[in-house]
Amino acid sequence: MLVDAFLELLNLWVLIAALVGIVSGIIIGAIPGLGPTMAIALLIPVTFSMQPIPAIILLLGVYQGAIFGGSISAVLLNVPGTPSSAATAIDGFAMARRGEGGRALRFALYASVVGNIFSCLVLMALAEPLARFALDFGPAEMAMLMLFALLVIVLFGGGSKLDALIMVLVGACAGIVGLDPISGTPRFTFGSFAFENGFQLIPVLIGLFAMSEVLLQAFDRETLVGDVEVPPLKSSVVRFVELWRMRMTLFLSSLIGTFVGILPGIGSTVPAFMSYSLARSRSADPDAFGRGAPEGVAAPEAANNAVTGGALVPTLALGIPGDAVTAVILGAFMLHGLAPGPFLFRDHGLEVYAIFEALLLSSIPTVILGLLFFRVAIHVTRIQPRHLLPAITILAIFGAFSVNNSLFDVWVMLGAGVLGFLSRRANFPLPPLLIGLILGAPFEQSLRQALLTSGGGYGIFVGSPITIGLVALTVLSLAISLFFSLRKPRI
């Protein structure tokens, strides 16, 4: 089977499809606001007339390319192209400011290859048993998992825990705007139809991370004078030894990415931040994180690339997509006659294994093209910031508008930009705000769903082995955090 599937790949069209997919993915991903979902959705019509294998390979190439492209703009411009690369931007941009943008991108590229290969192997080995595990995550399990994730961000996200908690709550409150997930009635919409959709993630993200930078640069005269010259890029190499030293970080991040990816609906942002926090807490020098630690780039990149393989497990085994991107990929599978489900492997085993192997092997062209393209992308940082700011503003407005073709989203983006600017001026951290916004609404929904199914009884939150395990993890994290804060000498 594996050999037959490999022979299917020895086809010029398959190679062309992979190359076209990866290159267009890198380009689209590097544009702020244009993420993998939109890139894949735009290219689905292109694949209509193609054979299933090259078609899916093209789309998966776009996905991989777009994730790497997202890290280019995150590292060099501090403008994450995708929500998940927001974690990469923290240390990646700090490295870029030191002139180590090239090194940061190499770490990102190699880490993403490790994450991709790892999750692909897991996907190939464990597709069906793992799918059954994902189904055990009902509303109560999801609610406890998200509570745990929110707690991890507050406790281990770094900086003041109170600041982080405040930002998480601000984010969660922003998530309340829109239609009530249970009763369907409008909340805090002020009678406006535009508010019914709530604050869309991508405009908020672009505002928080891109627009706030523009405002910060525009209002902060001191930084502007200091930062007119971007430090020259040192020619850089990442030696294998350096990657080998962070092998445990890469392994754990890939593990987190893969397994969180299998759970429907969490996406790649949470594992990216989770593994960032984990790498930071495991590090011998946690203070280096946020100031340009290579591991702070490698950990989220390994994790968010590992999500692909993980998210494909429920998508292919059950036809239940793990996130927006795999939902689009699922549509492509159906379009090409590959109906997901347990019979997929029986009826279309050849195609599915060919696609798995292509996903595995696409690491090779991704590395080659990635190295070629960021050489080009590095020139972006040589432009003086004052020349770049108008371009970032225009890209931000365009990106925010293009998500839903809605002008309202542009206002949301600008509002988030002002909020991000004020928060950064006041030294409040932005990632907890983002996580609060991303997880707040689904957490509320899962919590209320669980209470609906249990008839209002809270026992459901400790009613299954998974919830008990998650509650134990939550209590343990609190205890660890408390233990360390008590041991720390008071100033």
């Binding site: 189904l135 509303p139 689009v328 379009l335 809605s406 008839g455």
Partner: protein
């Protein structure tokens, strides 16, 4: 009627314009047509509308550009098309929810009946009542019976959707404890019923899971049985007075010239009845259900009234 100078002038002006208008209709379309899809790219509505557009542009001789305007359960796109210029160059491929479910619940800024001319209906996924394969409920009757002694939970794609309202009216009529649990999309509701977190789910796209024996199909919410599962009864066949007919159709803004509507209806009907379209939709696990513009208008009108009643009962 008095023949004043004004009415005569109006008559003359009207006579002068008529031939021009006729020419405009005959030439239609002379530039690309925009087909708005109220959901994101890559969903079934989007994919089927794109196929429809690709096949229809060969007949109409002009490109049909699909534009995605997702958000607010499709009502944003409906509102924007309702206020578009009624020249036949802006159309919408829409579904049940923004056509007659959400407008029955609250002000959405448009009136489906007054602001749109339905052109045709071409699809509409069947919504099934599904339970896990090891569920104690074998039939719809058993499910309803079970809900008499204790709460039975059912998941749907979202709050105040058509499926939810249909079962809410069943619960009211039968006096049973059917507890609704809304999910964020049908696939999450399907996952919840597969994992046994809810007792039942009202979802489309159940075919493969039912055929695989992971779910059991108790019935469908539509007016007719699913041809793939002729044994699964409709709610009415099972003695329950509720129905959620699912539509996927194309509509134009009110005021569009009848000649243009006729031309579009004939082109889209030709596509929808072709074998190529049927094969495409079967691969997508979607049925082809053709209904004329008038038929679609009647369905929308009927359901709008029915859903207003249900919404009133729910206290909204």
């Amino acid at each position: 009627m008095r023949y004043t100078r004004r009415s005569t002038l109006a008559l003359l002006a009207g006579m002068a314009i008529t031939p021009l208008a006729a020419v405009a209709q005959q030439d239609y379309p002379t530039r690309p047509i925009t087909l708005v899809v109220p959901y994101g790219a890559g969903g079934t509505t989007d994919i089927s509308a794109r196929q429809m557009a690709t096949m229809a542009e060969k007949i109409l001789g002009q490109p049909i550009v699909v534009e995605n305007q997702p958000g607010a359960s499709g009502t944003n796109a409906m509102r924007s098309v309702a206020s578009a210029k009624p020249d036949g160059y802006t159309l919408i491929a829409t579904t049940s929810s923004p056509s007659f479910v959400t407008p029955a619940l609250r002000d959405v800024g448009y009136d489906t009946l007054a602001d749109f001319i339905p052109i045709l209906n071409y699809s509409g996924p069947f919504h099934g009542v599904v339970v896990p394969a090891d569920s104690p409920y074998d039939t719809l009757d058993a499910l309803i019976e079970g809900a008499k002694s204790g709460a039975v939970t059912y998941g749907t794609a979202g709050a105040m959707g058509g499926a939810h309202l249909a079962f809410a009216s069943v619960a009211k009529d039968t006096g049973t404890m059917l507890q609704h649990v809304p999910f964020d999309g049908a696939s999450k509701a399907t996952a919840a019923v597969l994992g046994g977190h809810v007792d039942a789910a009202l979802v489309p796209a159940y075919r493969d899971l039912v055929q695989d024996g992971q779910l059991r199909l108790l019935g469908v919410l539509d007016g007719t049985s699913d041809p793939d599962f002729p044994d699964a009864p409709t709610l009415r066949e099972a003695g329950l007075a509720a129905e959620f007919p699912s539509i996927v159709g194309i509509m134009a803004p009110e005021g569009t010239d009848p000649a243009i509507i006729a031309k579009l209806e004939s082109a889209f009907t030709e596509v929808a009845s072709s074998d190529g379209f049927k094969t495409f939709m079967t691969d997508l696990s979607q049925p082809v259900r053709i209904m004329s513009g008038e038929g679609l208008a009647a369905t929308i009108e009927e359901n709008l009234a029915a859903y207003r009643e249900i919404a009133k009962d729910l206290g909204n």
